[in-house]
Symmetry: C2
Subunit: 403 residues, 2 copies
């Protein structure tokens, strides 16, 4: 019998066979994910333990201790949320707000806008301090906004990945606390690459992502809450609007009770453990200095090539570099050459900056001399290939590394 | 100068050094996480690609195709949510409901209660069909509840991991659709271990977890939405209450637009790709048969040992076995022996069943003859060690495997 027409039609639910997935080598200079050290990848091949196995609980305790070091905090409520950085953002906002609260949000790029979008999904009222993309938020304007409402939360991004701007953190907590508001800081891009200093800066809720300067694969969002933030949790009158991101539930699993909440992403926690271990081994001060030197070397190299930074020096982040695409150069073509001819990824601009800037992450493993030099060399070749007659930036960068 | 007292006090934020994390071999019979095949663990050592790298996008496309096969669906909106199974549950509920909706929820154990707890955090009204733990939900009672309100959603769990009960799925969609409600089914425990058959059963939103029968580490929640569910998404009047779990946002990244939403957990997706690939290679029918045989062998073995199943045969799940702790036997002591003397993990009871039952997951890799026999042998030794004079169940189980 011949097959009917229906049988001949390709069905999505049909069994297919695929080959094991093959991955090219890449050197990532996007602002996340970043290159993951081999020992961190290897950590994920360890036997998956049960989420209540005594050995896994010990791994969790060590992760917590190392996160306290990396956040520079004594906060007892410090743990990785089982989601990517944006999940950490949602956890931070959802746990802090209740119906009727005013929340001062200060977007200065895509990720600040995301924060606003999350606040808009809560029953709280956002009070927005808008800033031009490429600039930092003016503290006087924050104060004006705080005065104009009954703020319960002040929320902003430390390093805005979409613009390469770093917000000054000193003084913000004093301002927030004067109005009895919690200070939420997004340290997704910056943590362990440049100082965040949770306790010294008085930050009440700070979160990050595993795949940026920390150097693990994406999938976890470390978070830490001050006593003031914990008090806010304890005195809530309404449940947190997400069960998954309800820190009071997750806390019981990460604390002494060990009450099951959701099944922890075991292998991702192995990776985070190893990535944090490498950070502890290097030490934060040395790590910050390494990131700072790589950043200055990159900027020197780019400037020698006649390429401008978008962000003025006074706002400039260390870990994400917003670079102007030179006049007459096609953003996409250069990035395609970098990827296909050099196995190097840099990121394009987001939103209104699409096609206008490149975003170069110097985070974790990418912030090393050999990588910065390789990038500058590959970039020059790719630009030359597209008819841009730039000189090499390698010498200028080497000069910074030698100093 | 001598150190001040403050300096001598141990600070949580101090730098510490840890050794690389060492993990014992374990054979997991908990109902998730389950043993992960070596090639799945190895897949996570591949270079982390950028989340917009053409090669990673191809990996995503293949994952989607394989998920369609595993869910037995033609649904175009099929993707893994970047969270564990409970995140999938939250995504399913949050995307389906709006203020003023009635949601018929049918808890028959911990995970149904979790569903209810999530509905209670939405502006929808839960209409609860309560069932004794250890029984399945009575369809007539569901119909009564549907009649009593204006249901927009009917939500229940296929295999309730806390009680080992499997809910019959046939007929539920017809019932839900008669009232213009969406049918949400939790297939966290069952998917690829026993038939779920999304299209044949008319399920509108179905989700699972990577760490159960699928056999990847915990951290992803595959989800699929029918055209009816997509229509519901498109006609929403209010935003989904979670940005992270808003499927309309995630969909644009997994679909043809490739618009960045959040950074995908790249390495976890590599693992899921390989785990799904192994399922496709084995074929669902063969895989279901393997699980069914392992289940019957375990039951025969336990009964030969004089140990009873809690769940009556008519409700009994294939993939999770709720086993009564024999009279006079200490739950914890036996489980501790299994873990420390045999490197085997089984789970205890949750909630009211704590101390009364063991939960034995036969999911993915644990559902193999050698593993079932090893478990029965180790269980007998551990019970004997605690003074329970049971005979071996190995012969009875072997008999089933030979048949």
């Amino acid at each position: 019998m011949s097959a009917t027409v229906t049988e001949q039609i390709h069905r999505a639910s049909e069994r297919k066979t695929f080959k094991p997935f093959d991955v090219p080598k890449r050197l990532l200079f996007s602002p996340g994910p970043t290159p993951v050290p081999a020992s961190v990848l290897q950590a994920m091949t360890k036997t998956v333990l049960g989420h209540l196995d005594p050995r896994f609980l010990q791994c969790m305790d060590e992760i917590k201790e190392m996160l306290q070091y990396v956040f520079e905090t004594e906060n007892r409520l410090t743990l990785p949320v089982s989601a990517t950085g944006s999940g950490g953002m949602e956890a931070a906002v959802f746990n802090a707000v209740e119906p009727g609260d005013d929340v001062v949000v200060c977007p200065m790029g895509v990720f600040g806008e995301r924060m606003l979008s999350i606040v808009e999904r809560t029953p709280a009222r956002p009070v927005v301090v808008k800033t031009e993309w490429g600039e930092a938020v003016d503290v006087n304007r924050i104060e004006e906004a705080m005065k104009s409402c009954n703020p319960r939360v002040l929320a902003l991004v430390h390093v805005e990945t979409s613009t390469g701007v770093a917000q000054e953190l000193a003084g913000l907590a004093e301002l927030a606390h004067r109005y009895d508001a919690l200070l939420i800081v997004d340290a997704v891009a910056s943590l362990s690459g440049q100082p965040v200093s949770v306790d010294a800066n008085g930050i009440d809720i700070c979160y990050s992502g595993s795949q940026k300067c920390i150097g693990a694969p994406p999938g976890l969002a470390p978070i830490t809450l001050s006593e003031r933030a914990i008090e806010r949790l304890r005195s809530r009158k309404t449940p947190v609007q997400s069960w998954y991101f309800d820190i009071s539930g997750v806390e019981k699993y990460w604390g002494q009770e060990r009450t099951y909440h959701h099944t922890a992403p075991v292998s991702m926690n192995y990776a985070l453990h190893e990535a944090l271990r490498l950070i502890c081994e290097e030490g934060l001060e040395k790590r910050w200095a390494r990131h700072e030197q790589a950043h200055h070397a990159l900027v020197a190299g780019l400037e020698a090539m006649g390429i401008e930074m978008m962000t003025p020096p006074e706002y400039r982040a260390i870990v994400v570099n917003a670079v102007r695409v030179p006049e007459g150069v096609d953003d996409l073509k250069v990035r395609r050459r970098l990827l296909t001819e050099h196995n190097i990824e840099i990121a394009g601009g987001l939103g209104v900056l699409k096609g206008k800037i490149w975003r170069v992450g110097l985070m974790g493993e990418s912030s090393r001399q050999e990588n910065v030099l390789r990038l500058l060399d590959a970039l020059q070749q790719s630009l030359n290939g597209e008819g841009y007659a730039g000189v090499s930036g390698v010498d200028a960068a080497e000069h910074v590394f030698a100093s």
